[in-house]
Symmetry: C2
Subunit: 253 residues, 2 copies
């Protein structure tokens, strides 16, 4: 399941940036926000968002369901914290050798792998980077890598969004295919059976018939690297034009 609305911004921001100062009175808390988030991430990694219930998180930590609400206002805010926690794994590009293209390749590949480690991230709302410390650090790093190569600030944002749009889109397709495979077990045959029911209508679709024959559909997973190079080629065409001194007309208005 996906919530496509995030948690209350105020409270989430407070959780993400606020000092974890513990109040002076009352018993010392047995858990921490980080521990709760970690447990939740483990559940989501293993069995997906569908298995991520407040009950499950509490059970994994050995407490009752409602105890979790002492650390988190609600499930939506917990999801926000989970995302920012996981974004600590995002790449830092400052130390990558090479120009903008090499850095963006690293960025894209690392995000691709992050999404495969934590598929549930792609099942949440796709806003601009969550305003948590880790997400912001990674965003800053990418924008910096695109700075100083002749692009306007707006173009930098647009270039990053183009690449990130592709990476997330491709990753989501790949991740969902893998999850479906796992979910249905070894459903290779069941899947083929379904296709049989479908192939019998195929004569109406000549191009797909041809491709079925040539085996183009047998590649289950789309080739991420292929698309990545195409997208970077397209961006490079713009960037090399800019670095020759051409002004942006209304490219990224």
């Amino acid at each position: 399941m996906t919530e496509y609305s995030s948690g209350d911004p105020h409270r989430t921001l407070e959780l993400l940036w606020g000092e974890p100062a513990r109040p002076s009175r009352g018993p010392r808390p047995a858990l921490t926000l980080a521990a709760v988030a970690r447990a939740a991430i483990e559940i989501a990694d293993a069995d997906g968002l569908g298995a991520l219930s407040m009950r499950a998180v509490a059970e994994r930590l050995g407490f009752t369901t409602m105890s979790i609400y002492r650390y988190v206002p609600g499930k939506a805010e917990l999801l926000d914290v989970m995302v920012d926690t996981v974004n600590a794994e995002s790449p830092v590009l400052e130390h990558v050798e090479g120009g903008w293209r090499a850095k963006m390749e690293v960025c894209a590949r690392e995000e691709w792998e992050l999404f495969h480690r934590h598929p549930w991230v792609l099942h949440l709302a796709w806003h601009r980077p969550v305003l948590g410390p880790n997400s912001v650090t990674s965003y800053e790093s990418a924008l910096t890598a695109l700075s100083g190569i002749g692009l306007s600030d707006m173009e930098i944002v647009a270039v990053f969004n183009t690449l990130y749009g592709y990476v997330r889109g491709a990753a989501r397709t790949s991740v969902d295919a893998k999850l479906a495979e796992r979910h249905t077990g070894l459903s290779e045959d069941e899947w083929w059976a379904g296709r049989e029911r479908f192939w019998q209508h195929l004569e109406r679709f000549p191009t797909m018939s041809r491709m079925r024959g040539s085996g183009a559909f047998d590649v289950v997973e789309m080739d991420f690297e292929f698309g990545l190079e195409r997208v970077l080629d397209g961006l490079e065409a713009l960037i090399s034009k800019r670095s020759l001194g051409a002004e942006p007309e209304n490219g990224a208005r």
Copy 2:
């Protein structure tokens, strides 16, 4: 909420391709599969997948919850049917003037708009096109538009996936931003308040500070057209190489 597993392929395929032959005995059904799907689509369009319950569908049609199960095995299969129904709006590219690029531009823009009319489609699993008649027709149309321009069959699939990856990724970002805006009402100020809490940490992030000053972040929605042209530029670089007779090395393996 999103189910990331689709319905049982057998039963979905039967629903999508099977003749709607009504059995000879028993009372005549008051509804049809199409009517159920239509009602469900209206609910999802208006209020999102979170509002799409079997109860809501039944209520909108003036029947009890369980009556819906006479037309659909379960919610997952209903979602499959909804997706294929909505894909009837997908573009047919045969009549589009111009070469592959003009056709793919039309394809991309029409899908972009379809996703904005039916945002919930992007909140479901992103498999390869659902194997329903409408989805397949649209897929066939796109693959045909990429045929006969020097690409191998595998490259055609890879090129389409690259473009479609970008379109879906960009659309998902845009759609989620719009939904969040609607969900939080006129939360412009609440959103800014959240940012205030955040800006005070900004000195650690020089690039983002600069961009805040230059107004690059004030553009709420990413520029779809900008990214589309970059991606098509990148694909064109490959295609024009191929049309000059160069063989694929291991571009799309």
